[in-house]
């Protein structure tokens, strides 16, 4: 009874995890080659960071120009000219940078973000111009208006503030994290993909495979999800990524015990052999699952029969 309840709970947790990962903001594009490519959609924190970096650069440029013009004294004149200059430097900067550096400004480059076109074709000049002009309308111009205190009264200020707040909040409420400008230009800001090829775990030395032998019933328990989780654990072991040595070791021993109990593996495995056992099990399990998959039966996780 309790085992069944535990099972159900585990299954629910798994499903929750999976939907969360799916909602982990992936964008799938279909380029003309016909193979869908996945991108990770950039988070709002990183985007705001990139914007702040770019704005600081533009501010520095404005100050430099003002100093060159000799307009260093304060007052409304300098503020107004400064605001105008800021506009005149900022907008062309964003457009030129995103065009010349393939969807990256300096800030986006630092935070490894990139603008791409959501239709699977290249980024067009039109799209870049539209999204950056809309950025002015959405945030920058009303923002300047507020900061300069040009609004006539508190009500007007509040309206402008609400406008900026609503438009900044809009990306939070759609899956692609698009501003209004992104929607009109049909663009998405993505995280620059990083390609690191880990060594193949099954390409291990032969003796380890011969030492541990698994039969078909023992390999019937797990599915893709468990296999890839095991892969991650083993990869981080080879990289030596997290925790102290002893912690990782204890973790691996616990995992290997759990697996042995589940698949009913009779022989004892010494603690020193844990990694070798897990690698051998991984190789056997993957060979088995890939084989099943070729025959049309893909097992998503350990609940595949239910």
């Amino acid at each position: 009874m309790t085992a069944a309840a535990g099972d159900r709970r585990a299954r629910r947790r798994l499903e929750r995890e999976r939907t969360a990962r799916k909602r982990g903001l992936a964008l799938e594009l279909l380029p003309p080659e016909g193979v869908p490519i996945r991108f990770g959609v950039a988070g709002l924190g990183a985007r705001i960071g990139a914007q702040l970096t770019d704005l600081m650069l533009c501010t520095a440029a404005v100050i430099a120009v003002l100093v060159l013009l000799g307009l260093t004294v304060g007052g409304t004149a300098t503020t107004a000219v400064g605001a105008l200059l800021f506009f005149a430097i900022r907008t062309p900067y964003y457009i030129a940078a995103e065009l010349l550096w393939n969807g990256q400004t300096l800030g986006k480059r630092m935070l490894r973000l990139r603008v791409i076109s959501a239709d699977g074709r290249g980024l067009t000049t039109h799209a870049v111009v539209v999204r950056n002009l809309m950025k002015e309308v959405e945030v920058f111009v009303p923002g300047t208006y507020l900061i300069l205190g040009a609004a006539d009264g508190p009500i007007e200020s509040l309206v402008v503030l609400a406008w900026v707040a609503v438009l900044v909040a809009i990306p939070r409420f759609n899956a692609r994290r698009q501003r209004i400008g992104d929607m009109i230009a049909n663009t998405v800001v993505i995280v620059q993909p990083q390609a690191v090829l880990m060594p193949d775990l099954t390409a291990a030395r032969a003796p380890t495979r011969e030492r541990f032998v698994f039969d078909a019933t023992q390999l019937d328990h797990y599915g893709r999800y468990e296999l890839q989780t095991l892969e991650q654990v083993l990869q981080s072991e080879t990289r030596g990524a997290t925790g102290t040595r002893d912690q990782r070791r204890a973790n691996l021993v616990a995992i290997s015990r759990a697996i042995r109990t589940k698949i009913d593996y009779r022989e004892t495995v010494a603690d020193d052999d844990t990694v070798a056992f897990l690698r051998a099990f991984y190789a056997a399990q993957r060979a088995y699952l890939e084989q099943r998959r070729l025959f049309g039966e893909s097992r998503e996780d350990k609940f595949h029969r239910g």
Binding site: V81, L84, L123, L133, M134, V141, V196
Partner: protein, 336 residues
């Protein structure tokens, strides 16, 4: 270890890994130094290797359960896609294309621009008439910032002085005023363009409002008998600037029309379709505003003679009109 001992997916990987590494190396170079830095061989291989990586990815998705490999291929293909489909225009090319594409876009939206201009003229007429009826309307229409203290209380001499830039003006004040007026019309242009999405209503109101200000302002000066001087003062930059506002408003109406009358497209598609022309209108307006600011900042303070001011103002206006009427024609016709 012999080949057959490996898994099918591992053999698949072994056979292609060298190509992936080569692609990665090309990408590294093209991302760091731009695609122009690639040699002939690299540029040729990039396209081939990208297609190979696409195939590898789609095969791997089918046969492999190696998460490390799948993630790598996903990322590699994505990077290659970005490199292959990068925008290829130079900045000069973009500018040239804009200069030849903007006039046709403007001709296509002539009706919308005319609507914006007529709205402003209507506003001006109403503003003028209302002012003649009751001068206190002036205070209602003209915001303090624009009038710069010029109002009902000012004497005719004071008004004239501000028109011809009397000696007691300091440079700072002039700059501030220029920036103020410029940013007022820029704001009107920007908002009447951008808010056009809301079925064009804000555009209509903004154009009308801008007209009202002008009308009341003109009414005040004409009543004092210095209408001619004001015309010169306004014309020198105003022809360009107000035309820019009308064009931006036309762009706004274009967007509003897309939402109101999407034809057979969905509203989103219609908006995207019309925005192609509308954006060119907005950019043309921006260009004109910059030119107007230049004229305002330098020419108006230097040229004090009303006839010369009129000539400069309407001369530039004629140049704009010529550009819009004849620009980009030669390229468009053989294409059809």
């Amino acid at each position: 270890m012999s080949e057959t001992e490996l898994l099918r997916s591992a053999r698949f990987r072994q056979a292609r890994e060298a190509d992936w590494r080569r692609l990665e190396e090309i990408l590294e170079r093209s991302e760091r130094r731009g695609r122009r830095a690639l040699g002939f061989d690299d540029a040729r291989d990039l396209a081939t290797l990208y297609r190979q990586a696409c195939t590898s990815l789609s095969v791997a998705r089918e046969i492999s359960l190696d998460r490390g490999l799948l993630d790598y291929l996903e990322a590699l293909t994505a990077r290659a896609y970005l490199a292959v489909y990068a925008p290829q225009q130079s900045l000069a090319g973009v500018l040239r294309r804009f200069l030849s594409d903007a006039p046709p876009a403007l001709r296509r939206s002539a009706g919308h621009v005319l609507l914006a201009a007529l709205t402003m003229i209507l506003g001006a007429a109403v503003g003028w008439l209302l002012y003649l009826q009751d001068p206190s309307w002036y205070g209602v229409f003209v915001p303090g910032g624009i009038g710069q203290g010029r109002g009902l209380g000012s004497s005719t001499a004071e008004l004239l002085k501000s028109i011809y830039g009397g000696g007691d003006h300091r440079v700072g004040q002039l700059t501030a005023f220029a920036a103020y007026l410029f940013s007022h019309n820029t704001q009107i242009a920007l908002f009447s363009f951008a808010l056009g999405v809301f079925v064009g209503l804000p555009t209509l109101l903004l154009c009308l409002y801008n007209g009202l200000i002008l009308g009341a302002f003109a009414g005040l000066h004409v009543e004092r008998g210095i209408g001619w001087d004001l015309l010169g003062w306004l014309s020198i930059h105003g022809v360009t600037e107000l035309a820019a506002v009308a064009i931006a408003g036309g762009g706004g109406f274009r967007l509003g029309a897309a939402v109101l009358f999407p034809d057979r497209m969905t509203r989103r598609d219609a908006l995207r379709h019309h925005s192609r022309d509308a954006v060119k209108l907005a950019l043309a307006a921006a260009l004109m505003l910059v030119v107007a600011a230049g004229i305002e900042g330098f020419a108006r303070q230097l040229v004090a003679d009303t006839t010369v001011r009129l000539a400069i103002g309407w001369g530039t206006g004629g140049l704009w009109l010529a550009w819009f009427a004849f620009g980009g024609r030669r390229r468009a016709e053989p294409a059809r």
